[in-house]
């Protein structure tokens, strides 16, 4: 017994410190890399920001530092809460009034009016997200079939490539007036299902984020391993099964690369479009604050800038996660 314990102690006394040392070293270096360095970077940025901000005087007061922006985040959230309370109160009043009128006159059909208060910051975020996703999905629905067709057929590629190359670099701001006029002309129903401004933003987003997806899909499809195509030929797969079983899975990695690029473009385009066209959303929020010109405006715009950045980052991460879930190629790049 004693000998075994002694042995064990010896063993532990000798081995454990070494093991834990190694463990600690990797843990510490990991912690430094993943936590300490990003924190240091962020802290330096905040410091530089607040120092610089103090030294910039604008006609709307000093440039907002981190503290001012934080304050505006709070006040934006408070405004949102208050607005929600008001809205609830409005609906309660309306219900009560309607109930009273129905009680007096049973044949009266109550009218329900929507609350028309100003959209809050959070409402604008939601609107922007809905618009960007709709525009992006519409682009996906057009770009992927088009990209596959171009990738499969050299003549089609030769025919369409110049058009893509010309339209790809066009800024959303150039499309916007055209889209606005066309939508106004063609979408002139008295009782629209969706708002005209929503449609204008959506189409502008689609037009701008179409191209990266078309190009990447086409490149992916055209670059399929010749051996795999030969396998399909030897098996005599019909055209549709060939696309479904060989072409689509083989080009999934490239398609996703295109989709990530496109979503990034879509988000940037959307903010610009909303700003210029006064469509509801974060862009309009920024423009309204700019026009408003209160002493808080710059801080509120800065808050919006940060939110836009964070959402863009999250959208990209979301696409990456989706790619990892869907794609057979697990080596999806960061």
């Amino acid at each position: 017994m004693t000998t075994t314990t002694a042995n064990a102690t010896k063993l532990i006394g000798f081995k454990l410190p070494q093991l834990s040392e190694v463990f600690n070293r990797t843990l510490v270096s990991g912690a430094i890399r993943l936590i300490a360095l990003p924190l240091a970077g962020m802290f330096t940025f905040l410091l530089l920001w607040s120092i610089t901000a103090q030294n910039i005087d604008t006609s709307l007061g000093k440039f907002p530092g981190p503290a001012a922006v934080m304050e505006q985040f709070n006040s934006l959230y408070d405004e949102h809460q208050r607005s929600r309370e008001k809205e609830q109160a409005f609906y309660q009043r309306q219900e009560k009034r309607n109930a009273e009128r129905v009680a007096k006159d049973p044949s009266y059909e109550p009218k329900i009016r929507a609350y028309t208060g100003k959209e809050t910051f959070l409402d604008q975020i939601v609107t922007s997200l809905i618009t960007v996703m709709s525009g992006f999905l519409l682009a996906v629905a057009i770009a992927i079939p088009l990209g596959i067709a171009i990738g499969l057929s050299k003549p089609l590629n030769n025919a369409i490539n110049p058009i893509i190359q010309v339209f790809k670099p066009v800024s959303p701001l150039a499309w916007l007036p055209l889209v606005t006029m066309v939508v106004s002309a063609l979408y002139a129903t008295p009782d629209p299902v969706v708002a005209k401004s929503f449609l204008v933003s959506l189409i502008t987003v689609t037009l701008c984020c179409l191209w990266p997806m078309v190009i990447n899909t086409a490149v992916g499809v055209a670059g399929i391993d010749r051996d795999l195509v030969n396998v399909s030929k030897v098996l005599r797969l019909p055209a549709l099964r060939h696309v479904q079983k060989i072409v689509l899975p083989a080009s999934v990695p490239m398609i996703f690369t295109g989709m990530r690029l496109s979503l990034g473009v879509a988000w940037m385009v959307l903010i610009a479009a909303e700003m210029l066209a006064q469509n509801p959303g974060l862009g309009k929020f920024v423009w309204d604050e700019f026009q408003n010109g209160s002493s808080d405006s710059l801080a509120r715009i800065m808050a919006a800038v940060l939110v836009i950045g964070v959402i863009g980052f999250l959208l990209d991460r979301g696409m990456l996660t989706l790619q990892k879930l869907v794609s057979w190629d697990k080596s999806a790049n960061q």
């Binding site: 391993d225 010749r226 051996d227 795999l228 030969n230 396998v231 030929k233 030897v234 098996l235 005599r236 797969l237 079983k245 060989i246 899975p249 083989a250 999934v252 057979w328 190629d329």
Partner: protein, 293 residues
């Protein structure tokens, strides 16, 4: 012997900006049912072109390929191909890769249960039953090639075409694969055309070795009948005088062709090349030239 596959006087020209490039000239070969034929020759001599013509992936400029009395005009599962780099679909498991082929070939004639049994049977044949549900990137190069062979066998081809099937494998794995292939061949008695540039592999596996001259305008130089008893065992054969005789014959052929570029063939070919009209316009052929370049 009854001829199953008749490669009848095929010429293959690829159009290039500088005029047609003749890859093959008058390749003529008759192969019997159950025969194992190797094509051997230096790189770029057009071995793969012959195989691709038989597979139907290329169309010969002149002459043609007749299988069972019918001319070959397009690729099809009765001429299954085992490609050099396995060419499994990376997003499918071993089982699913074979399944794709089986569904396509037997989708109408076999029930679901029969198909499953057939897929498993073929993966059994190549000793891959332990990794049915692994994807290509989870298994070794030799295992991938086994699955590739299982996929080809599962199509129940009349002719099995193998394009340097073991070329990318290490020596030990290659030896294992050759033994496996001999076993399968003994059991199924397939008709096989295999491209190789491994002399030992050719002698060990083949009934006939077709030695091709150097390109351009490559053709069949010599045909060697390998009259060794089956089953063959590599260790016993190592000291077999007949085996070594075959081996040195092939080596000699390859060595002579290599040291002396084939001047006479080139000369006789150069003239008709200029006068013959160019009839190749196919898309596949154009691509092949781009590949070669």
């Amino acid at each position: 012997m009854s001829v199953l596959l008749d490669i009848s006087h095929i010429d293959m020209e690829f159009p290039t900006p500088k005029g047609p490039f003749t890859a093959l000239r008058d390749v003529d070969l008759k192969i019997a049912q159950g025969e194992f034929v190797s094509l051997i020759g230096h790189s770029g001599c057009g071995k793969s072109t012959v195989l691709n013509v038989v597979a139907g992936l290329y169309q010969a400029t002149r002459g043609g390929v007749i299988l069972n009395g019918k001319e070959v005009t397009e690729p099809g599962p009765e001429r299954a191909v085992v490609f050099q780099n396995h060419s499994l679909l990376p997003w499918l498991t071993a089982y699913e890769n074979v399944e794709l082929a089986v569904k396509q070939v037997f989708g109408n004639s076999k029930s679901k249960a029969e198909m499953r049994e057939w897929i498993e049977h073929n993966l059994d044949l190549v000793h891959m039953n332990h990794a049915l549900h692994k994807r290509p990137n989870e298994i070794s190069g030799g295992m991938k090639q086994r699955v590739g062979i299982a996929r080809a066998l599962a199509m129940q081809p009349k002719v099995l075409l193998m394009d340097e099937p073991f070329g990318a494998l290490d020596a030990l794995t290659r030896a294992h694969m050759q033994d496996s292939l001999m076993e399968i061949q003994a059991e199924l008695n397939n008709t096989v055309i295999m491209i190789t540039h491994d002399v030992d592999e050719a002698v060990l596996l083949s009934d006939r070795i077709v030695m091709m001259t150097n390109g351009p305008a490559a053709t069949i130089g010599e045909i060697l009948d390998v009259d060794l008893e089956r089953p063959r065992h590599r260790l016993e054969l190592a000291n077999d005088p007949l085996y070594n005789q075959y081996r040195s014959k092939v080596l000699k052929f390859l060595h002579e062709r290599h040291s002396k570029p084939d001047v006479p063939v080139k000369k006789t070919v150069a003239k008709p090349l200029q006068t013959t009209e160019n009839t190749t316009t196919g898309h596949a052929q154009k691509e092949a030239v781009e590949d070669a370049a």
